[in-house]
Symmetry: C2
Subunit: 431 residues, 2 copies
């Protein structure tokens, strides 16, 4: 007779419900692939008694005592889809201490305290998997940890937040304002009533921290990530991007510093050439572009959120953890051996797109160019357009320079008498 393993499910919201349903519906396939039947031992929820008619799930499995559930002796595998730092962390640490392997979709926790979780998994000889924490259903962490284990990743460039990508895509394709696009995203359920975590880049920053840690074998936490959201992206920015055959995307960027000794991790809106594979990622889709020394340029694309896609990633991890348990093996460990420090944003090498409202008279361009030269920032292109009798818009795209030098340049420009206003500043990536 086939072995069976018992699974505790912590949380039964959008993702948890789908995990429970698919565990039942795909039961035979999962058993054939894992080498053991996966049986639900219990489902921890905040309140029982709500309508929880999930196909195939015995109502008596619901409990409000998550702590008692993870401490049961007969639980082999724990799936955590509650989210947030506590009680999730305490429950996962308790489960691992008791010898259960854990699968989680909790990006906030992994980005804040991944080292503690990995250390516990190693100490107790259990598995810790979290594919669903970054880019939903897209197989990404396993490829980075395992498929690219023989390579050197140089850069990870990702669209890892579907809400902001939907908004920026509407601004680009429909000419919507930020406010209109946000409202539309909310009415379609792509954005929450309080969209702060998405719009301000907190969600993307947590994912960037996780990606950077894995890609560069170094401990990175969410607080290390330079973060700028998309609330200040204007229709004019999007139009400027269009004029240079580019598109505005909220990017999570993890990269080795030029000397290879440090890591840069940042989330901000940026202009990306339309020829870049990430530029054609539409709507709420996610995609992650990876540059590796030997493998070259890779891209992973798919739905980055949603209950069903996220449940697919959770179940993939669950099958792997089950297979390991049956084979008395454990999967890859947390790997921080390189221990590269996170470099400050100012040291990051990037390019700027700057729009200025200037007086339309001789000598203005010379004065502006002098400010760039003063900070050793070289200019790639300048476009000047008359806006009225003595008013002009000047659009400057720079060559690469440190973010410090570029920021100092912008600061210098604001001090020029001939510059009436700095209309917009946006980084240019992907070239």
């Amino acid at each position: 007779m086939m072995a069976s393993l018992r699974v505790a499910l912590l949380g039964c919201g959008v993702v948890g419900t789908e995990v429970a349903r698919l565990l039942h519906e795909h039961g035979d396939d999962l058993a054939a692939r894992a080498g053991a039947r996966l049986e639900l031992a219990g489902i921890a929820v905040r309140r029982v008694g709500r309508d929880r008619s999930i196909t195939g799930v015995d109502p008596s499995l619901f409990t409000t005592d998550a702590r008692a559930l993870v401490e049961r002796d007969d639980v082999d595998l724990v799936v955590e889809v509650i989210g947030g730092i506590e009680p999730a962390r305490g429950l996962l640490l308790g489960a691992m201490e008791r010898g259960a392997s854990v699968v989680t979709a909790n990006k906030a926790l992994l980005a804040e305290d991944g080292v503690t979780l990995h250390t516990a998994a190693e100490k107790h000889g259990v598995d810790l998997y979290y594919e669903a924490a970054v880019a939903g259903a897209i197989p990404l962490l396993r490829p980075l940890r395992e498929s690219l284990a023989g390579d050197r990743i140089k850069r990870v460039l990702g669209i890892v937040n579907g809400t902001t990508n939907y908004i920026l895509d509407r601004m680009d394709s429909e000419g919507s304002s930020f406010a209109e696009a946000l409202e539309e995203a909310q009415s379609l359920g792509y954005a929450e009533a309080d969209p702060t975590a998405d719009i301000e880049g907190f969600d993307a920053a947590a994912k960037a921290a996780i990606l950077a840690g894995i890609a560069f074998h170094s401990p990175v936490v969410a607080a290390d990530v330079h973060r700028e959201g998309i609330a200040d992206v204007t229709s004019a920015d999007v139009a400027s991007a269009k004029a240079m055959n580019a598109v505005v995307k909220l990017l999570a960027i993890c990269e080795l510093s030029p000397d290879g000794q440090g890591v840069g991790v940042r989330v901000h809106p940026a202009m990306l050439p339309r020829t870049h594979p990430l530029a054609s990622v539409r709507g709420a889709y996610n995609a992650v572009f990876v540059e590796a020394e030997a493998a070259g340029r890779l891209m992973f694309y798919g739905p980055g959120a949603g209950g069903v896609p996220t449940a697919s990633a959770v179940l993939g991890d669950l099958v792997t953890a089950a297979r390991n348990r049956i084979g008395d093996a454990v999967g890859p460990r947390g790997s921080w051996y390189a221990d590269r420090p996170v470099r400050p944003m100012g040291a990051t090498v990037t390019r700027y797109h700057i729009s200025l409202d200037v007086d339309d008279r001789p000598g203005v361009l010379a004065a502006v160019a002098a400010v760039f030269a003063e900070h050793d920032v070289s200019i790639e292109t300048v476009r000047q357009r008359s806006e009225g009798p003595d008013d002009a818009e000047l659009v400057v795209v720079t060559h690469q320079a440190t973010d410090d030098a570029l920021a100092a340049t912008v600061d210098g420009l604001t001090r020029l008498d001939t510059v009436r206003a700095v209309l917009s500043v946006m980084r240019v990536e992907g070239e």
Copy 2:
């Protein structure tokens, strides 16, 4: 002191050279990730004495006796990059019998006799990995086998041959003829002097067999794959595709039959809408589009060939196999439990794009439409264009029907007096 594992490398061509070089150059990183130093025990080549100055490789490691190398007691891991059926199969089976885990890039062998290799790996308790066999550096087999282990894959649609994608891309973007584009591909090294394996779809068919086996947990061999190459794709086909906002691609398609009980596996040129993510895969790049029940639509993109990218995939597998060996574990087994039969091409449901040279007189369209109706094939669009005083071109795009019904329809059309010639027939995919 860190453990060490000894690696035998079979073959030292384009891929083998890079494997040897990267093993040396990335030695410290690989050791940190695998948990053991990977030491080259020997390199089997056809002839020693050729110029083989690979950075860091001791010239005394080269041998022409591959058999003796894999039978050495001190070899833990064997990497095979010779290609072809024999002697590769015998060497790998010998290595596994002796207890070594193996990593191979050999698509022909896996597609012909994957079950034998997997059975041997299971019997002897060793690993068998072959990420490099399909789509070069793109992490694809590990995501399909592991990340999607909790899901149901419905369809895999791939551009898995860079040579033919380069040729078709040139025909589309530059208006080249097939012959011109092939010559260009050869002069750039994208196509071999004898391009048969690529052009006729043999290479893609082997990869399709491997993908179908993994995706559907069923044994599929290259001979099961319906195969049509691109040698007959004309500039007119490419122009017809353009006219319907589509592009011609050589696709490897693996899909569950509509009843879920069988598997269809085919390689042929097809028209794909330009809005499909695969349509924008340019040049010699590869990409594989996966439709899964829960995960939705995923895409994996990257370089599909080349010594360095392929070596990245080989080394990723090697690190995993080494990690398993150190942890006394084994990776996922070959999985054929579903054992679905391969359905004949005639039962495949697809759509056709058909161009006809017809008499330009009343009643022709009625006669043509009657042939479609007779075979229960419904028409989506018809475009008619006068070509001369009594000559017209008729372009028909069908709705979905079985390939048998569509082929019988084309056969019926050739028998019509009013049809002067069937100019082209191509399948339409991706909608």
